[in-house]
């Protein structure tokens, strides 16, 4: 059996065991709060294939995407400015530290006052929570750009715009992606939380509504869907990261699983690990 198949089986073993375990236990437990697996799946199919996709899943996804994209744009743009200017950084630091210490859900009541109960208030809350990891990581990434690369840029008269786009931004990209990954999780959390307060649709609203009407299997389907959603988004994010940062993983000797196995690889012995071995670059 080859390694890939074995790896895949290993990855599937624990989830399968957990599901079977849950199924066996609920079949004899007859618990109101933990309905049998078959029942949950039945409801899942009835509700989410594809009755409520348009009414609850899509609005949630749109709010989250809008909030997340706004966080990325805002975080990277502000991070570049603050990372490059010590003066701006000094001036902005107390405010940034205060705002990021503020739990974003605490501003839900205020955002409802400001924007009403529509999408804007939810997007506002998502941005307020998700922008910080991106902002702070971008600042650190920008400050960590190699001074010699910037000297090189000056010696060769590279104009400021190209310096930012072709040297500083790519140089900071590994850190920016680290921030974006944290923010993705935060954005999903805030999407759910903001929808649980004063909302008329969305996944968060759905889960809370089902619980209030004691529709427990239905509630579970919403929770499962949220878990699947987080898993899929994270997987997509990883694919994007591998693609955009192919050079970074190559540099670190992690261009392909084969190269990653030789953990002691130096830069030079990673020479054979071309990014093309990922099959997409």
């Amino acid at each position: 059996m080859n390694r890939r198949v074995l790896g895949l089986l290993l990855e599937l073993a624990l989830p399968a065991a957990l599901l079977v375990g849950y199924g066996l236990w609920t079949a004899q437990a007859q618990s109101f709060y933990f309905p049998p697996l078959g029942e949950i799946l039945q409801y899942f199919r009835d509700l989410w294939l594809f009755d409520r996709v348009g009414s609850d899943l899509l609005p949630s996804l749109l709010r989250m995407s809008a909030g997340y994209l706004a966080s990325v744009v805002l975080g990277v743009a502000l991070g570049l400015a603050l990372g490059m200017s010590r003066m701006l950084r000094t001036a902005a630091e107390p405010v940034v530290e205060f705002l990021r210490a503020l739990p974003a859900p605490a501003l839900i009541p205020f955002s409802l006052l400001l924007f009403g109960s529509g999408d804007s208030s939810k997007i506002f809350v998502i941005v307020l929570g998700a922008v910080w990891p991106i902002l702070l990581n971008t600042i650190d990434g920008v400050r960590g750009v190699d001074g010699q690369q910037l000297d090189m840029a000056r010696a060769y008269h590279i104009p400021l715009g190209a310096r930012v786009l072709r040297i500083i931004l790519p140089g900071a990209a590994p850190r920016i992606f680290a921030g974006m990954r944290t923010s993705l999780a935060i954005a999903i959390i805030l999407m759910v939380v903001s929808e649980m307060v004063a909302s008329s649709n969305g996944l968060g609203y759905f889960v809370l509504e089902q619980q209030r009407s004691f529709a427990i299997p239905e509630m579970w389907t919403g929770i499962i869907l949220l878990g699947v959603l987080g898993y899929v988004l994270n997987w997509l994010f990883q694919r994007l990261e591998r693609r955009v940062l192919a050079w970074h993983f190559g540099l670190k000797g992690l261009a392909s699983p084969a190269a990653a196995k030789n953990t002691g690889t130096t830069k030079r012995s990673a020479r054979s690990a071309a990014p093309s071995s990922d099959g997409e670059v």
Binding site: M152, A155, A162, H248
Partner: protein, 255 residues
């Protein structure tokens, strides 16, 4: 072509503090190959950063072809010691070389031609699509040299460019540099702490003593083209070696 007179550089706000460069005078002629030889900590790097316009100097004057140097001159290219940090790992070798050309008003087709020529000159034709980190250290430094050559500078400043490669690769790079120096008809100012390397490469060797003043100067009259074996067997090579060794030693306590 390059004229340095009474160059003085003091770090920090106090002009009476100990200078990194005290009172430096020298000239480099057009198409000349000059090596600056000095032990570590003698102010070589500071001097080079002043010459390249990357940092301001305290007093004195630097002129390149009559023009005073106040920022990085248009006619100058710089090869840094640490190739792995001056090449951009997210660009292929070809894009690294072509990158400065785009902002020099060179059109796309000409930039491509200059890039291919430079790749060929450093023996990396066919490796343009690789990334720098897929190449060995010596090859990466050749990419940095190719980038400088494609820029078509009047003068090439090199800061201990071969200090971090192994001895075998190093002599190969020295010969390559001499070949491209002839081919590109450029001027080279090469900083090193290696006496043999300085003699082997240069028309003229300036010995720098802390705080960066020219303590000694020799003209190297060894025949060109130079050869790793024959040039170094030449009695004149041995004589110059002794002279420079004494000159360096006489100025500093070897660390």
């Amino acid at each position: 072509m390059l004229n340095v007179s009474h160059l003085r550089k003091v770090y920090g706000p106090d002009p009476s503090a100990a200078p990194a460069v005290a009172d430096l005078d020298f000239t480099v002629e057009d198409r000349e190959f000059v090596c600056i030889l000095g032990s570590s900590g003698c102010g070589k790097t500071t001097m080079l950063r002043c010459l390249s316009g990357l940092i301001p100097f305290t007093s004195g004057e630097i002129t390149l072809r009559g023009e005073p140097v106040t920022g990085p001159p248009k006619d100058m290219a710089f090869v840094f010691q640490d190739y792995s940090r001056s090449l951009l790992p997210w660009m292929t070798v070809r894009r690294n070389i072509a990158f400065p050309l785009r902002y020099r008003g060179v059109d796309r087709r000409e930039a491509a031609a200059l890039t291919e020529e430079a790749l060929d000159a450093v023996g990396l034709a066919g490796r343009g699509d690789r990334f720098p980190w897929q190449l060995s250290g010596g090859m990466q430094q050749r990419v940095a040299i190719a980038r400088a050559l494609a820029y078509r500078p009047r003068i090439l400043l090199m800061d201990e460019p071969f200090a971090s490669v192994d001895a075998q690769t190093r002599s190969g790079l020295e010969d390559l540099l001499l070949r491209v120096w002839e081919r590109y008809e450029t001027t080279v100012l090469f900083v090193t702490h290696d006496i043999d390397e300085a003699i082997y490469l240069a028309d003229r060797v300036l010995v720098l003593r802390p705080p960066a003043t020219v303590g000694h100067e020799v003209t190297v009259n060894l025949p060109r083209p130079r050869d790793q074996v024959r040039t170094k067997e030449n009695p004149e090579f041995a004589r110059l070696r002794g002279e420079l060794f004494a000159a360096i030693d006489g100025g500093t306590v070897a660390a």
